[in-house]
């Protein structure tokens, strides 16, 4: 009874409840989009885009523009710029991400140093904070999660085809460039609505680790699309609760929990695969 009471203790705080809802929905959303990030070999892009959105967040603070509008537009433009630069094969996506996003991050840092209250606000943006989460964040993350779900359901076959076999998808009439630009725009706004809780530096982990763990549990793309959001949402939910009792950063606890899940799944999947490969020795 006392234990149950203690476990419910953080729910007495509104900031915790808000943070928990945002983190859990964000975990599911990042898990869903993370499937495409991992399977397209774009893990670096989550890292890069979060840095780009940081630049937009700083600029919108300085210019006193609405955070979601300023950083959102900035993030989407960064995503589209990356897609455009990456299309020039002489450079490649990694160089495009490196150029566009680090420049954006540096600009954000410079703006915050020059005009903002550097110290604490930078730390909150970099590492996330549950203290600043408001109802508007809940609406924003819920709206983006719904949009992400609609995009994935309606664009399922195009997304799958262009992720698995880009060139053939293109010659088969799929507008691969539009699919990629849409995915990058979706990633940008996901990072935008998630950044306040998880922070710029750790958000890429939320995009990569649940999907990577899900990949090891199944050989089906369709199943991976629901396993990954479940892992993302559960680790965010449990991680938020743990962080309260351990008195650790929410984002760090969530990511460590994700990493733990990954290690456990990796160990189990490794054993299972070895057994399976032994039984498929004739192939």
């Amino acid at each position: 009874m006392i234990l149950a009471f203690n476990l419910m203790e953080p729910y007495g705080f509104q900031f915790f409840r808000h943070g928990l809802v945002v983190a859990t929905i964000a975990g599911a959303l990042c898990g869903l989009l993370g499937v495409f990030v991992v399977l397209r070999g774009m893990s670096y892009i989550g890292h890069g885009l979060s840095h780009a959105v940081f630049g937009g967040a700083a600029a919108s603070a300085v210019l006193r523009i609405n955070y979601f509008l300023g950083a959102g537009v900035w993030g989407i433009i960064s995503g589209l710029l990356i897609a455009r630069v990456a299309r020039r094969r002489v450079l490649g996506a990694d160089a495009a991400i490196g150029v566009v996003t680090t420049a954006s991050f540096a600009l954000g840092l410079a703006l915050m140093n020059r005009y903002g209250q550097a110290g604490k606000s930078i730390e909150a943006v970099l590492f996330g904070s549950v203290l600043g989460v408001q109802m508007v964040d809940i609406y924003a993350v819920s709206g983006v999660a719904l949009l992400g779900l609609v995009v994935v359901v309606l664009g399922y076959r195009r997304l799958l085809f262009s992720t698995f076999d880009r060139d053939v998808a293109q010659v088969s009439g799929v507008n691969v460039s539009a699919v990629e630009a849409g995915l990058l725009a979706m990633l940008s706004i996901t990072i935008l609505v998630t950044m306040r809780v998880i922070g710029t530096l750790l958000i890429s982990a939320l995009l990569v680790i649940p999907a990577a763990s899900a990949r090891m549990t199944t050989n089906s793309f369709a199943r991976m699309l629901w396993i990954s959001p479940i892992i993302g949402a559960s680790t965010c939910f449990v991680g938020m609760n743990l962080s309260y009792f351990l008195n650790t950063s929410a984002s760090a606890t969530i990511i460590l929990l994700d990493a733990l899940v990954f290690v456990v799944v990796y160990a189990i999947a490794g054993t299972r695969n070895r057994m399976k490969m032994a039984s498929l020795g004739h192939i």
Partner: protein, 256 residues
Amino acid sequence: MTSTPLIDCSHVSCTYGNAPVVDDVYLQINRGEFVGIVGPSGSGKTTLLNAIMGAHPVAHGSITLQPHLTIGYVPQVETVDWYFPVTVEEVIVMTRTKTSWWPRITASERKAVREVLGQLGIADVAHRHIRELSGGQQQRVFLARAMFSQPDILIMDEPTSGVDVRTRHEILHLLADLHENGLTILLTTHDLNGLAAHLPRLVCFNKKVIADGNPRQVLTPQVLEQTYGAPMDVLEHGGMPLVVDHGRVAMRGEGK
């Protein structure tokens, strides 16, 4: 009266940057033909295929496709990510992007998948992961994907690249059967003896068409030297041309 060709390339040139990779190509593919394009690596074979399919811009000339032409494309299996989490059924159905947006595979699609897999002799692999298949089965799956849209023409890029002799035989027989049933096939290949020599029509290609005809007409030392830039001999074996490159003959001579 002659029918309109399915594909009509007229003075087609393509470039990568400023470098010409396809130069003034004239080529027609008619319904019911089985055509192989042979040439060395970097000769522009794949670029020509891409141009035909609209995936590479044409710098000069024109490519005219018969109206409403449906193309089934089989890429080089070496480019496939075999670790990607998809089953055979998912690979085949993913091409249906225009007629259905619903993510789940419908009962009618499942039935159609069974039929096309059955036609290619691999009806029992629908739920297997693509990596769990043998080389021949893997090639058949991608063939099945191309066939799923009931194409007017099948375009294949190096269908026997990286496969063993047995699989190569399987693929050759399978393609011969499909052609026998009326399917038009256009493919590229490096494999002069194992595949090209068995085709009814062969195009020797190196940026431009060097020769076009049946294997007996085009597999000659002169044409091959012009195509590959190296001397080659052509022998007769079992009533078919057999290409032997001079390098191998010279090495065997030195060995003696």
